[in-house]
Amino acid sequence: MINVTIREERSADDEILHLTLPTLADSDQSMERTLQTQLPRNLMLHVGHEETLLERVRHSTNRTELVLAPVELHRRNIQRRLREAQLPKDRLHFADPPEVGRQLLPDGQQSRDAIDRIDRLSMIQSLLEENNGLDASEPTIPSAPQEIEQIRTVVESVTGFHPERLETFHGTSEKLPSPIDADSTEILEAAVTVERALRHDTEKVVSDVEFVRRATQNLLRTSGTCLEAAFPDVERISLVGVSSLPAAHVDLLHAILEATQVPVHIHFRRGTGSYLSRRLPELLDVTEPGTVVFES
């Protein structure tokens, strides 16, 4: 079956469904303004309106904008738009968060390698075989390395292994009906155990995300000078094309906002944008972003 819609009727524009339980704020026009007052001064949120990014290039001076585009092809798309608009593409500097994270590390750490997923899976497999603290016989814990790695990734994304967040995660889990409460805490514990074991077992960095976290810490430690050093020309940082905000990314932006004067723009997409904007102020409400529960 083929359906056709012609551009003219911008019919679907504002009807993409609510992402979660709707709140009154969603229908409130003043939401954006209210929200903006809860946010750090240098942080601007956009939902859609990616064209403003191109506009900024048109009007920018020689300084550059650091564009964090986690999806590789999105960078190409921006470049294609710039080319179509006959705009120079050297005013934007593209990177994904781990790349930026790596460049913000102290000199000695920049060349460190991270292990990749294949390595992690193989290490998890060994952990399982040695039964080294990782107990697959716990009712919720899967025995396949892929699934364990998945758990690790999810918990990392939700908490960034930040102590406060882990505690909140734990507290939330405990309030769920039995046995979901136990399932949830076991997931949390397994993720932390695996991450700890991986850290113990490798000289290298456990994952790319770790660069982001370490950069976050370094930003705060150096009061932002590492950013200045790594990206001297950057006058603005944008995170674009995201449908989700992992804790580590939030914390990186948090640290930039706290330690530097560089303005940060987040361009959400329109399906998830209003929801994520609404959630952002609370996400920034952690102390010492980038901290992890593990002894370093």
């Binding site: 819609t5 738009r81 994304s157 997409r269 329109r270």
Partner: protein
């Protein structure tokens, strides 16, 4: 793809058309075949499935032969089928053409033997092409599978393929070089893979998680190959872009065709290890839970983002297609995303007309073309 062909018939430039699918996994092959049918070269902006390419099959089959104490006729000859050639070969003799390989294979006993027994067989059997002997000697000279040695052997194999095998692909290919491009990408990828293999194999030998054998090498290559790396730029200016919806963000393409808007397919939710009750609590983010980063993959949010991107990328018009029933006759419902879109249905007659030999654009699509004209006036 008939629509794309018709748009092209109407003079719409290649780059003014994009085909968008939520997940190309199941659509790549049918869209590829359909494109070729209508005389269009497609390009899929997805990672290459290296394991299904000849260069990969070649190095894997070499490992398989070396891993086996008593390779069967089929296992033994597979590298030759995949255009193995000795490192110093010249293009006039190598690779052996498929017919010759098969005829020689047919002349071999259908049993398992050791490499040296096969070597003797090749030498003694007059029906076997003499180049088989060269091959057997090369196999005999292959070193034990130490990381460095493995890398050297496989690098030689793939570089020789680049030198001698790849030109054969080009020779047999259509002028659009679809197969050549794919084979070339695979060659580059396999070269990188072999380099990665060296380190990973060495690491695992050190850790004691793998034993030193050619079958471990094959196993590890599979593993590395299935981690599909980033997309590479595609190089044919005449090819129609076929993208996954996540990748169309920010583009502005006059005619966008969104394929597969079926309930259950787009949007589709990914499974998560986290219990739904906990997901929901984190998504709601009440109180301190608000500090936990929600995963929008737990909802259909990402898919809606992507659908919105698709919608907004379409400059002149969006054409959405879907199946109404499966092959076994079960009804397929439209994606709920379409509930929020005012669309005109292409009537069955026009659809048949589009698919027919005479191929005509449905009126609704034709209106998009006219629309553009009106705009410019």
């Amino acid at each position: 793809m008939a629509t794309v062909a018709s748009l092209r018939d109407h003079g719409v430039p290649t780059r003014d058309i994009a085909v968008v699918v939520r997940d190309l996994d199941n659509y790549e092959e049918p869209l590829y075949r359909a494109s070729v049918h209508y005389g269009l070269t497609p390009v899929f902006w997805v990672q290459l499935r290296v394991t299904q390419t000849r260069p990969f099959a070649l190095i894997e089959s070499v490992c398989d032969v070396l891993a086996s104490d008593n390779p069967s006729r089929e296992v033994l000859c597979r590298p030759l089928e995949h255009r193995w050639a000795p490192p110093s070969a010249t293009s006039s003799e190598w690779p052996i053409d498929p017919k010759t390989v098969q005829v020689s294979m047919q002349a071999l006993p259908n049993e398992s033997r050791t490499l040296s027994e096969w070597h003797d067989e090749f030498e003694g059997n007059p029906e076997i092409d003499e180049r088989f002997v060269t091959y057997a000697e090369w196999l005999g000279d292959c070193p034990d599978p130490a990381p460095e040695a493995v890398t050297n052997v496989l690098t030689d194999v793939v570089e020789t393929y680049e030198e001698l095998g790849l030109p054969v692909t080009k020779e047999n290919d259509s002028p659009s070089l679809i197969a050549t491009e794919r084979d070339a990408r695979a060659t580059v990828r396999v070269k990188t893979l072999v380099q990665q293999l060296r380190h990973k194999y060495a690491d695992r030998l050190d850790e004691g998680t793998l034993d030193r054998s050619w079958s471990s090498v094959a196993e590890l290559s599979q593993l590395i190959a299935t981690q599909r790396p980033g997309r590479r730029e595609h190089s044919n200016a005449r090819a129609i872009d076929i993208l996954e919806a996540n990748d169309i963000w920010l583009l502005n393409v006059p005619y966008v065709l969104a394929v597969g808007l079926i309930d259950g397919e787009w949007p589709q939710q990914t499974e998560s290890a986290v219990p739904p009750e906990l997901q929901e609590a984190i998504l709601r983010g009440d109180g301190r839970i608000g500090t936990l980063a929600p995963r929008t993959a737990w909802t259909t949010g990402r898919d809606r983002d992507q659908f919105d991107d698709t919608l907004r990328a379409a400059g002149n018009g969006l054409i959405v297609t879907r199946h109404t029933e499966s092959t076994s006759g079960e009804e397929r419902r439209p994606s709920p995303l379409l509930d929020h879109l005012n669309t005109d249905l292409v009537p069955p007659d026009e659809r048949r007309q589009l698919m027919s030999e005479e191929r005509e654009l449905p009126n609704g699509v034709r209106a998009m073309l006219n629309h553009e004209v009106t705009d410019s006036e």
